[in-house]
Subunit: 615 residues, 2 copies
């Protein structure tokens, strides 16, 4: 398109943004209007994308990091013919695909859910990294950012990662409209302030007037011809551009225009330009990835092994069998054992350094391209990426997260490293799977099984060695459990997982020696949970004693209680969990102090039996 | 101290780091050895601190951001006479104050718990900001960082904040030893790479050899005389410095030295130098802060008001009554209503922009200086700061966090903005308090009450208006509840909080019209929870139906279930919660779709009664 056509298209996107928001009675038209010219020129003259084949492997990828500018995105979908005008005005209404913030669950052209600021660029880095090092296809990743969101540290994790990885297939476009939600941003229209920051992180920077379509056009051309480093286009724009009543004014964030009809007239009225987006470059050869039966590591029953060790070995084996598996490390791969994968498959191993938000975002980005990522760090430090996990679940992203060094069982390092909230965090994520194996063979099986699940899958591993109690051919369906001790005389049921399983078994043996029989269930699948087995245990033993190396809230105890949250009779429920703030001590001292070792379990069970609380 | 003495002191700190780790059989001596000279020169020649009076208002503040270098810190405590040599060798043992990573719960000279990397500098920024704008005392904040942790985005949130606020009372010292846990860092010994980044964020930078005590001495002097901007000293060091077997070698992170005796000999053997740390400058005049009876806003029963509005008004009123209250905003103060405080008390209002980690870290930093911070953003976005909240709880920090726009009740903005995991997140934090008011008067009371609590206090507010159901003089003790409907014929108890309280009341009235009486409890204190009232309701009605605008895991349903986690008989428990992924829709449509509105509650209650599940 030429200058006049581009300007017209920009106005059309503004008009449609205003219209959609006016119909909805809410939304962010002013944040859309500032970026309209940027998106118009991108679509008309630079992006390569087949809207009828969003899965096309050579399509460019577009991420609207400033997700609140959804009216602009939907106006663009209309301009390219992906949606009809009639759908545009369903914006933000019940049942519409056009949500307040875009999500790939509903729209095939959306790569990742946005709306929590500072996440689009990190995910874009993940996609660009996939393009460079996995897909090896020359698609380009375009990320449209707001200026306010550059205050998020995650943006600078992404900037560091992209600069270091020389991602010249990545272009960030920053709509510097100088106004945040509440008022002016830190740097206002000082484009140089942003440029200095990006340059320091080894980016190529271009500063332009974001309403000069020729300048925008040239900037995109320059970005496309820049090699060896990512490019950021810093565009000076005006919020509410084109309508005097709202242009560059404070206090109008996230509000429909007060006089929509007049605003549309001022913008020159509705238009019906159609944009023909360029075809993607010829598709790369289809990936031919290994898919063999996985040869999982096998551990001898009676030996001891750490579940983190089993995870590392199993992941490496899975990577051998399946060419679509990738591993991401948060600079602790020697501890999580992800380094086993790195040694076996260096081309599919990605070091994300100590930047857990970027770690998860890289996984999300790679998953959009069909890769199956396993991202690992200490369980405690995955809390750093909670918001990214939350948004990934909104995206419907299929990623595997593995948290090692869970619980007080780590011992001397103390509470900062312990991960006593991770089960609560991952259970509360929509559609998640939460697995917590107790032995090496179980771990290996679950590592392989999780690859095939939907949504966020979390595996919790342990630092220290635990006895191998299962044979290598035992199966562990997700949603299942293992009943390890059972008799008709069971007075209660101990429900354990991970490091508390061997403790529960030892407690059961001690109690049995005293004539007290208790059932022991290994609830390795914390979500979904084996309701049937728990119901049966409740009926047969009347009391469930949960034992977890986790704070009492939201973890194993809650998982068990929730099974009885449907009105049926509830058994007696007793929770053993970590209720104090641990310090440094040996692992066995820690378990003892928390009352979740064999002694603590046996004492609790004995008290319940002796006080005739249970039958 | 002169050059030779400083070098000797550095060696002493190394020897004691090696000794402590050797005794413990774990720990991070090599990470301590790289920074030993940096700390030696700081203590001997530049820091002003009275170790006998850690609460002295004019004391400098020191934060060990690389918390794993705790052996070095404890060696320094010994050198200044704060601890004995006998205590030094209790490092990492059961009951010792000298934990694997330092915490202020146990040691009075520690400002904030570290061990999750990238948190020390953000908290240091909070302390420095308090020094400049609240305490108005010329103490200096020294933060010793590792180089690996500069990959954390939170460090760049802090850098941006400090540069923008011209915090020339803040000095970051980076121990650039080039080796992370797993291997080399991104930038190795390229000090310029770090300098460019900090300069871009408007810091003064100094690059030195971190083992040249004279250079270190000059750098501290230069930092002390730098005005108008924070200073970072980038020090080139060697991990394991001074012991050939480990110096600058990979694979030795977090491990005691293999041959401790030989290493100590190589370092010149034990020494017993005593460092006399300079006295703090004369204390500033004691703060004379307003403390009056708070005149909370009063709302008329029968009116409607949003709890976020009540929060804003109450916080402003609290700020009028108490001069120690400060408010921090994540650039959404117009939505959270924190801006009410900003208008009334601009000198105690801090804009943290869209940087939730820095938002919480600023609160933690200010709390170390005795201020009572309220930090607010959308409930959803507090997940961004989960790890900071976790670490704050390890510190024992007393901070107030307020999350607005909770739940599907926000309506059209969609799931990215909803906050459906926040109750689970905050409940799982050790020692936390979780409050969720349903009306404006209740909110106002709880806003005032939370200021006086210990630990992490979380208040959840709502976007839309709800009926004012309580009078302005009603009291709401933390740990209490309100029984809003009760009779001897109650067939079950509906337990609600926040937006589901008016829905529960409407459901109860509908059911009563059909002759079905149900009890209604407003469980505004989600943690601690009113166990007594719930036990009584269980005994008297036999069934508790929890209704929450939150995912089913870890929230209100769990809070109620946990009350029965001690072996006593458990009532029937039924959970209504948000079990699907919401899209955009009006607030009432959202509540209906989730089944947590009056219709959904009444239908569930009717089903339970009609199917004779309940008596």
């Amino acid at each position: 398109m030429n200058t006049d056509e581009l300007a017209e298209l920009g106005q059309q996107l503004r008009v449609d943004s205003v219209r959609a928001s006016a119909e909805a009675g809410s939304g962010h038209p002013t944040s859309s209007m500032s970026a309209a010219d940027l998106l118009a020129v991108l679509l008309a003259n630079h992006m390569r994308y087949d809207f009828e084949r969003p899965e096309h492997p050579a399509n460019d990828r577009f991420v609207l990091s400033k997700g609140h500018a959804s009216p602009l995105l939907y106006a663009a979908y209309k301009a390219v013919g992906a949606i009809e005008d009639g759908e545009l005005v369903t914006f933000r209404k019940l049942g519409s695909r056009l949500e307040g913030h875009p999500t790939p669950r509903r729209l095939p052209w959306v790569e990742t859910a946005t709306g929590s600021l500072g996440q689009g660029l990190p995910v874009g880095v993940g996609i660009a990294l996939a393009g460079k090092r996995l897909d090896r296809t020359d698609y380009r990743v375009w990320v449209l950012c707001g200026d306010s969101e550059l205050a998020e540290g995650s943006v600078w994790e992404a900037a560091e990662h992209a600069g270091h990885e020389n991602l010249d297939n990545l272009v960030a476009v920053v709509d510097v409209n100088r106004l945040g939600q509440r008022g002016p941003t830190r740097h206002g229209h000082d484009l140089d302030a942003y440029a200095r920051r990006f340059q320091a992180f080894d980016w190529h920077t271009i500063e332009i007037d974001g309403h000069d379509v020729d300048a925008i056009d040239r900037a995109y051309g320059e970005a496309l011809s820049t090699t060896g480093q990512p490019t950021v286009i810093l565009a000076r724009t005006l919020k509410g551009k084109g309508v005097a009543a709202v242009e560059d004014r404070e206090g109008l964030h996230g509000k429909p225009l007060p006089e929509a009809e007049e605003a549309i007239a001022e913008l020159g009225g509705p238009r019906s330009l159609h944009v023909r987006v360029a075809e993607p470059h010829a598709a790369a050869a289809l990936r031919s990835l290994t898919t063999e039966v996985v040869q999982l590591p096998r551990f001898e029953q009676g030996d001891e092994a750490a579940t983190r060790d089993a995870f590392g070995k199993a992941l490496a084996a899975l990577g051998t069998a399946r060419g679509d598996i990738v591993a991401l490390d948060g600079e602790v791969g020697d501890s999580t054992r992800t380094e086993e994968f790195g040694k076996a498959h260096p081309d599919r191993f990605f070091e994300c350094y100590i930047a857990e938000q970027q770690l998860v975002a890289t996984a999300v980005g790679m998953a959009t391209r069909g890769w199956v990522p396993y991202a690992s760090t200490f369980a405690a430090f995955l809390t750093r990426a909670h918001d990214f996990v939350r948004m990934a679940s909104i995206s419907g992203s299929g990623i595997n997260l593995v948290g090692s060094h869970a619980g007080v069982a780590i011992g001397q390092d103390g509470p900062s490293q312990m991960g006593l909230e991770d089960l609560a965090m991952f259970r509360s994520v929509y559609g998640s799977t939460v697995l917590y194996p107790c032995d090496a063979n179980q771990t290996a099986r679950l590592v392989a099984a999780m690859a095939g699940l939907d949504g966020i899958r979390y595996l919790r591993t342990s630092r220290g060695k635990t006895p191998v109690i299962y044979g290598p051919d035992e199966e562990f369906p997700v949603g299942g459990s293992k009943t390890l001790r059972s008799s008709e005389e069971d007075r209660l049921t101990v429900v354990a997982a991970g490091v508390t399983v061997p403790e529960a078994l030892a407690a059961a043996d001690r109690l049995a020696a005293d004539g007290i029989r208790v059932r022991v269930i290994d609830l390795y699948s914390v979500k979904p949970v084996d309701a049937e087995t728990l119901h049966r245990a409740a009926e047969e033993t009347g009391c469930l004693l949960t034992v977890e190396d986790h704070h009492p809230e939201g973890g194993l105890g809650d998982a068990v209680a929730e099974v009885f949250g449907d009105g049926r009779p509830v058994p007696r429920l007793v929770r053993l969990a970590v209720r104090t703030m641990p310090g440094s001590a040996a692992p066995d001292e820690q378990l003892y102090a928390a009352g979740i070792d064999a002694l603590g379990i046996a004492a609790a069970a004995r008290m319940l039996v002796e006080e005739a609380v249970v039958r």
